[in-house]
């Protein structure tokens, strides 16, 4: 399976899903003009990847500062897919990073964490 890498742009986040290191990273801001189109291929990649792994530990790192409403819906779906995979026995750890001086960052993480049942979901404070 190939590495999925999308450079960050003014309205879209940096994406790097590495199937060899089993690390998935989303960083930056997310205001795509067409959110479904931007994230569509990411979901295609993710579903194929999750179907092909066994007991490897998958680390998901998300550092998002600003995102629009459609991106929050997409992220909820993204975490739900990962959580369902964890419920099926996959070993998945998600890390939500937030800046220490932005209290909203922690609250966003808690909002995403609310529905997670099987996957480990860490809220990690970072200094900028």
């Amino acid at each position: 399976m190939e590495l999925l890498k999308i450079e960050g742009a003014k309205h879209t986040p940096y994406i790097c899903f590495d199937p060899e290191k089993h690390q998935l990273e989303i960083t930056g801001e997310s205001y795509p003009e067409n959110t479904s189109e931007f994230f569509g291929r990411i979901f295609d990649w993710l579903n194929e990847y999750l179907a092909g792994i066994n007991d490897e530990t998958v680390t998901v790192n998300v550092k998002l500062y600003y995102f629009n409403s459609s991106s929050s819906k997409i992220l909820m779906d993204f975490f739900t897919i990962l959580d369902d995979a964890a419920a099926d026995g996959k070993n998945i750890v998600a890390n939500w990073f937030y800046e220490a001086d932005l209290e909203e960052g922690l609250e966003y993480g808690e909002d995403f964490q609310e529905d997670i049942e099987s996957m480990k979901f860490n809220l990690i404070e970072i200094e900028e």
Partner: protein, 285 residues
């Protein structure tokens, strides 16, 4: 999040009512029941998601607006600092005037959104000085009538420059307020020679803050009390407040002067604090 809870209460109650109906044994074990129960599960999940998205979206908007406001204010403050930097004795003038007018405005009972307008008008009132030749702007001494006329054009420049900025809707009155800070209550000011209530009220507040700072700071132009030429140095507080008092109904709005006199002790403390801060900054440089 109490507001959110109220906003969605009717929807939550409806979901609960449907749940109670489905718990009734009489409706169980039909294809419609099975389908509807699954549908209700999906609906509940989507509803939860929707509530969270609305919550996050509100927070995102609030964060963005705050960030834009902070960026706008810091840009304006930097612009003012840059313009005043070339003129040593007026460095910090607009910032001090802003603090004085906010002090007066708060004691006049202005609301927060009004104080915001006053803040930007105070910061930007002298921005038109950028349009005045240095030979006049930085002259060390009293102006000739021609130079005075040139210098007075800075209010017109202030309006011209600020009219060109696409200000937020809440700050649309700032250019006119800033341009009228040299108008006098008896109509002998400039640039429009308007009088009394024709002068925007916030300009009348800035007029007091502006003159107070000019009298109590070291300037390039000598101070004068009526026809008497004084030194370049700060004037005594007693003399400054006497001038404000005597010039009410001539130069200043009496309501604003009354507030300045009523809260004189706090006003002087603010002056001391601002000049101490400036002295500290100069020592560091």
């Amino acid at each position: 999040m109490a507001k959110d809870d109220n906003m969605f209460k009717e929807d939550e109650d409806r979901i609960s009512r449907v749940g109670e109906l489905l718990a009734d044994d009489a409706v169980k074990d039909t294809p419609l029941y099975t389908e509807f129960k699954a549908f209700l599960g999906d609906y509940k999940r989507l509803f939860k998601q929707f509530r969270r998205i609305v919550r996050m979206s509100d927070r995102q908007q609030h964060g963005l607006v705050s960030e834009l406001e902070q960026a706008f204010e810091s840009f304006i403050r930097t612009l003012v600092t840059v313009i005043e930097a070339k003129h040593n004795n007026t460095a910090g003038h607009s910032n001090r005037v802003t603090e004085y007018v906010l002090f007066l405005g708060a004691n006049l009972g202005l609301k927060n959104d009004e104080l915001e307008v006053l803040k930007y008008a105070g910061l930007l009132h002298d921005i038109g000085k950028i349009g005045i030749p240095d030979s006049v702007l930085t002259k060390n001494g009293r102006f000739t009538p021609e130079e005075r006329n040139t210098m007075n054009q800075h209010s017109v420049w202030t309006k011209k420059i600020l009219d060109g900025i696409r200000l937020p809707r809440s700050l649309k009155t700032v250019p006119m307020i800033a341009a009228c800070h040299h108008e006098k209550i008896d109509g002998t000011g400039y640039p429009f020679n308007v009088k009394g209530d024709e002068i925007p009220f916030f300009s009348r507040i800035i007029a007091v803050g502006d003159v107070f700072d000019a009298l109590t700071s070291k300037r390039d132009y000598p101070k004068y009390d009526k026809d008497e030429d004084l030194s370049f140095d700060p004037m005594s507080m007693d003399r400054c407040f006497r001038i404000l008092d005597e010039d009410r109904d001539v130069h200043f709005d009496p309501e604003v002067v009354n507030i300045a006199l009523k809260y004189r002790k706090d006003f002087e403390e603010l002056w001391l604090e601002l000049h101490r801060n400036q002295a500290d900054a100069s020592l560091k440089n």
